[in-house]
Structure formats: C-alpha cells, structure tokens
C-alpha cells in the first residue's frame, strides 16, 4: 500500500534504530509519511482507524442489547445512548427467568439441538468414511446430490415436512423435530468429514489391519480419534443450525411446552412496546455463551467450513 520506496539505512545491523532516533534523523514529517519499509507510520494510523471504526460498527449492537436490558422500568423508552443507564437494574433478567418461560425455552433448545447434532454427526461420520475410502457406483452423483441439498431453500422442505408430520400426528413432540434436525446438516457434515478423512493417510489403517484389527476396528480406534477436530466442527455446525432454527420450529411446534428459544424470544419481541428490556435481557443471556464459544473456536471453525472445498 505504500507509494514511496525509501528504505531507511540502519545505523548498526545489531540494533535497529529506535523510533526516537529515526524521528531525529529524518524529521517528524519525513518519518511519518515517507519511510516505507513495510507500512509507513501514517498508514498504520489509518489502518488502525479503519479497523476501530469497523469494530465499533460490529460491537455497538451488542453493547446496546446490554444497556437496554439494564434499564429500570420507568426509563424503558428513553432515548439516551449511555451504555450503563442510570439506576441500572437486573429486574428484567429476574422477570425473564422467573416470570416467563425463558428456562423452558433454553432447556428445550438444548435438548433438541444436542440430540439432533449427536445423531447427525454419528450418521455422517460413518457415511463420510465410506465416501473417503471406497469407490462405489454413483459415488460422484451422490456427492453432488449432497451438495445440491444445501441449495434447497428452507421453506421448500418445510412445506412437505409439515404436511407429513401433520398427517403422522407428530407436530407437537420431540420426535419430529429431533429427526428433522439430525438429518438437515448431514450432507454438509459428510462433506467436511470426507475432506478431513481424505487427508489421513490410508497406511495408518493398513498398519492396524496388519496388526490384526478389523477394518471397522481400525476406523473406530485410529481414524475417529484422529478426526476429532473435524468431528467437533461438524458437531458445532449441526448444533448451530438446530440452535438457531426458527422456520422449522415455528411450523412444527405450537405448544408452549415445546417452544425453543427463537420462538420464545420472537414472542417477547412481538409485544415490544412494553417488553424491550425483557427481550434484550433474554437476548443477552442467550448470546453470551454462544458468542464465547464461537469466538473461542472461530479460527478452527472457519477454516473447517472451507476445508472440504479448498483442500487439494
């Protein structure tokens, strides 16, 4: 990004000149705008400013959630922009937990998302292994079919699943939604896991089989433990899909006892003239654990999501 190409000559090769020495030698103006080994100082300042602006834009809504959730009842509809409002109170948190079905929603979401992703990853792990290690008829069309299912708009699947579930009488129960969640991410998990298995050399299994293990035994004892990162990515991906799903839950679950958090929070928000702080308190409590989990595993997760397509 530099337009100037002067290179500062270093006084001694052992100790590079300090910032103070450089300013003394070149004058502040020259130092700030013209020195260009890497980035000139003014470029660094600009870049920091750009990034700070970007961070403010990305973070501000979250601080806003926190600040509105802390507002006392008589200041719900104020127009202040303070992060910690005057007379901050946890009343909204208390109300949401004690007087609303918040805990039920969270509990339901945890149950549905955990069971769905557990089954989903188990199914995908073995299926992907077959895709990675053997050639069988229709393998490439099957892989392309799996990819195409990712393009199906959600409502397209929801219409038939709703009618089928209505006819089977499993609309307000766990069975319908758990089975649906466990399969909805299977194609993507298979792609991720296949990509990962492909990087594990086949010699490892051969070695184990020479030592007397069965092929399946080699898979469970060697390949699965080696693939923990990919399994974790697939699990996390399945989990988020189920955890954040609104469309399927909205159609399949109408009984309050089965509400998952997206339905519950949507309802809180629907009554929004009175319940701003409660809606924000619920949102904040839901976001923080997910946020922590995602940011902590982001490096891992994002590289994993592109692994299947990028890797040679």
């Amino acid at each position: 990004m530099s337009s100037s190409h002067q290179v500062i000559s270093h006084g001694s090769p052992l100790s590079p000149p300090t910032r103070r020495e450089l300013i003394a030698r070149h004058g502040f103006f020259n130092w700030f705008f013209r020195t260009a080994r890497g980035d000139a100082p003014y470029q660094r300042v600009l870049i920091h400013l750009v990034l700070i602006a970007a961070c403010v834009i990305t973070v501000y809504p979250l601080t806003r959630i926190l600040s509105v959730s802390l507002r006392p009842g008589d200041a719900l509809l104020s127009t202040t922009m303070e992060v910690i409002p005057e007379n901050a109170t946890f009343a909204a948190y208390y109300n949401v937990i004690v007087q609303r079905e918040f805990l039920i929603w969270i509990w339901n979401s945890i149950i549905v998302a955990l069971s769905g992703s557990f089954i989903g990853v188990a199914i995908a792990a073995t299926g992907a292994y077959a895709f990675s290690r053997w050639d069988f008829p229709l393998k490439v069309p099957a892989l392309i079919f799996l990819l195409c299912t990712q393009m199906i708009p959600a409502p397209m699947m929801v219409v038939p699943i709703y009618i089928i579930a209505a006819n089977l009488g499993i609309l307000n129960s766990w069975i319908g939604i758990i089975v649906a969640y466990s399969v909805q991410s299977t194609p993507f998990s298979i792609w991720i896991l296949k990509g990962y298995y492909d990087t594990v050399p086949y010699e490892l299994e051969q070695q184990a089989m020479v030592d007397g293990s069965s092929h399946l035994g080699a898979f469970y004892r060697i390949i699965l433990p080696l693939s923990t990162p990919a399994l974790a990515i697939a699990f996390l991906f399945n989990f988020t899909q189920a955890w954040n799903d609104w469309v399927l839950a909205r159609v399949m679950l109408t009984n309050d006892l089965y509400y998952t958090w997206p339905l519950g929070v949507n309802r809180l928000q629907g009554q929004f003239t009175t319940l701003w702080s409660e809606f924000y308190a619920a949102s904040f409590m839901i976001s923080i654990p997910v946020l922590a989990l995602f940011l902590a595993s982001s490096r891992f997760l994002i590289s994993g999501l592109t692994l299947g397509s990028v890797k040679d």
Binding site: P61, W107, R133, D256, S283
Partner: protein
C-alpha cells in the same frame, strides 16, 4: 403459564432419551441387516462401505428424498388447508401442475405481488450483497493481514456479528429500527437528521434489511479471506516491491490470483446463503411489506400465511431450479473443481 420444574425436566429428558435410544437402535438394526444381506447373502465386495452408508442414506431418503418427491407430488395437486383437517384428498393431475406453474408466473404469488418483480429484486439483492461482502471483506482482511498491535482483538471483535445467534441479531436490529426509540434514528438525530421510517416505509425498509445483511455477512467473508491472504508467501510481495511494482499491480497480479482458491468457493457459498437468506428479510420486514420479500420469504408466506400448499410447492420448484441454474453457471465460469479425484482404491 408453564413452570420450569424438576418434573418438567425429567419428563422432557425421558422423551428425548427414549427417542435417541430408539433412533440408535433403528440405526444399528439397519446396519446389521444390511451387512448380513450384503456380505453373507449377496457376497458383495462393497458390503462394508455400503453398510456404513446405510444410516445416512436412509435418513436422507426419508427426510430429504421423500419430502422432495412429496413436494413434487404436491405441485401436481391443489392441496390447501382444507385438505389437512379433516383429511380430504386434493385433486391430482398434470392439469393441476400446469395450472400451478402458470399461476406462479401470471398471477400474484402473494396478495398482489407478481413473480417477476420479486425475482428481479432477489437477483439484485443477492448480487449487491455478495459484492459488498466480498469487497468490504477483502478490504478488512487486507487491513488485518500485517504484523500489527491489537490484531487478534480486532479480528475477534469484527467476528461478533457472525457469532451472535442470528435470530437475536435480526430481532435486535428490527427493534433498533424503531422510529422513535431505536438507536439508528437516535444517532441520526444527533447529526441533525430527523430519522427514517425504517419499518413503515417500503423503500427504507428495503434499505434497512440490506444494511443488516451486510453487517451480518461481511465478518465471515473477511475472516475466510484473511485465511487466504495469510497463505500467500510474503516473498512474492518482496520481489514485486524490489521490481518496483505499485500496490495496485501487486494487488492485481499477486493478491487476486493467489486468493482465488479461497475466494471462489467462499463467493459461491455466499451467493447461495444470501439467495436463501430467510431471517433477515423476513424479520426486518415488520409490516409484512410484500415489496421487501425475496423469493424465499415469499415462498414461506405463500405456504404458511396463504396456506396454498400445492401452489407453494410449484413455486418452490421454480425457485430451486433458478438457484441451481445460477450456481451451476457460476461454478462453470469460475472453473471450480468440485470433486478432485476418486479416493484411493482399495483391494
């Protein structure tokens, strides 16, 4: 009002536990049957891999294949709410299918909105969004791709929109677009503008959901592209700099070609995800303006607000085919190879 009690926890654990146990039993049973039949019955060479594939194949067949076929069947009927309870079989026939498809293109798909305006808006929105995601994402990634202080913190903070549960993010934005109390307008008033009717004006509502979608989509794209930039060998840049290449030349001749293997799949994924984005256009559209609907939300409304299932099924097939054509076209011109090579052969 339901209470979160121990009894409730235990009963829901029992229900979920028995379902998981049931599914695991079914899966194991299926695998044993498949293996016995294939290995001992048919003496098939590929008995083991096919057995491993059985659970995924059955699951996908039951929950993806069957609904898809059922969807096609629905498109050949005039199914609506009155055929579900009490259960009355709808009319079935090729005539119904042709009528449904004709209805998609010639009659309003919602109350008054026709297909082609919605389609045009969807394409415009998708193209706009992907362009913004990639260009802003690449810009931020290039800012982050250097040795600098606070880099880890910037990267983490920029990722926040991606990490917040999407429903929370979208509902929050919807609340914050409130004319009087939302922070967007409060902020604008601080700068002397009187604020926009984000939720109750058609044009600004369209802009509002586009802004939210940019906010949501850029972080993921920029971190993916940052990964791509980091894999470029810095020696290329050093050599180019010694040869006197300007930053524009370095960008065009080194950066762009080197991150193509990351950029192309990311852009294709972004295209599909944006085209199929449901939450943002559906929830930011608080007044249910048909003019803010894209194909996917229009599809949902046609099915679950107007309850025209047969028509919605035909509509969904049209939408899916459009996306498929776009994607195949995109994959072809970008020269992306989906399946590299067959895996290692086994004896």
């Amino acid at each position: 009002m339901e209470r979160f009690t121990l009894g409730f926890v235990i009963s829901s654990l029992e229900e979920a536990g028995s379902i998981i146990l049931g599914i695991v039993l079914v899966v194991v049973l299926l695998q044993v049957i498949a293996y016995v039949v294939l290995h001992h019955g048919l003496k098939a060479r590929l008995a083991l891999p096919l057995t491993l594939l059985v659970p995924a194949a059955v699951g996908l067949a039951v929950l993806t294949g069957y609904p898809l076929l059922y969807n096609v069947w629905l498109a050949f009927t005039n199914m609506s709410l009155q055929h579900i309870s009490p259960h009355v079989d709808p009319d079935f026939g090729v005539g119904q299918f042709i009528a449904n498809i004709r209805r998609v293109f010639t009659r309003p798909v919602l109350h008054s909105e026709h297909f082609f305006p919605v389609f045009g808006r969807t394409v415009a929105y998708t193209a706009l969004q992907v362009t913004f995601h990639v260009s802003i994402g690449l810009f931020l990634a290039m800012c982050l791709n250097r040795r600098m202080k606070l880099r880890g913190i910037y990267r983490t903070l920029i990722l926040i929109p991606w990490a917040i549960p999407q429903i929370v993010a979208v509902l929050t934005w919807r609340t914050e677009f409130h004319f009087q109390y939302g922070f967007v307008n409060i902020l604008l008033r601080n700068f002397g503008h009187s604020g926009f009717f984000w939720l109750s004006d058609r044009m600004t509502n369209w802009i509002a959901f586009n802004l939210v979608n940019i906010w949501l989509g850029v972080p993921f794209m920029s971190v993916i592209l940052l990964g791509g930039l980091q894999s470029i060998d810095p020696n290329y840049y050093e050599a180019a700099e010694i040869d006197g290449a300007t930053w524009r030349q370095r960008f065009r001749n080194i950066t762009l070609p080197m991150i193509r293997p990351v950029l192309t799949p990311a852009a294709i994924l972004g295209w599909i995800w944006t085209f199929n984005m449901f939450n943002v256009p559906y929830f930011i559209n608080a007044r249910n303006f048909e003019s803010s609907d894209i194909l996917v939300t229009a599809l949902f409304r046609a099915a679950f607000e107007y309850n025209r299932y047969g028509f919605a099924a035909a509509f969904s097939i049209v939408v899916f085919v459009i996306l498929l054509i776009f994607t195949v076209f995109y994959v072809k011109i970008s020269g992306l190879e989906l399946t590299k090579k067959a895996s290692q052969k086994m004896k």
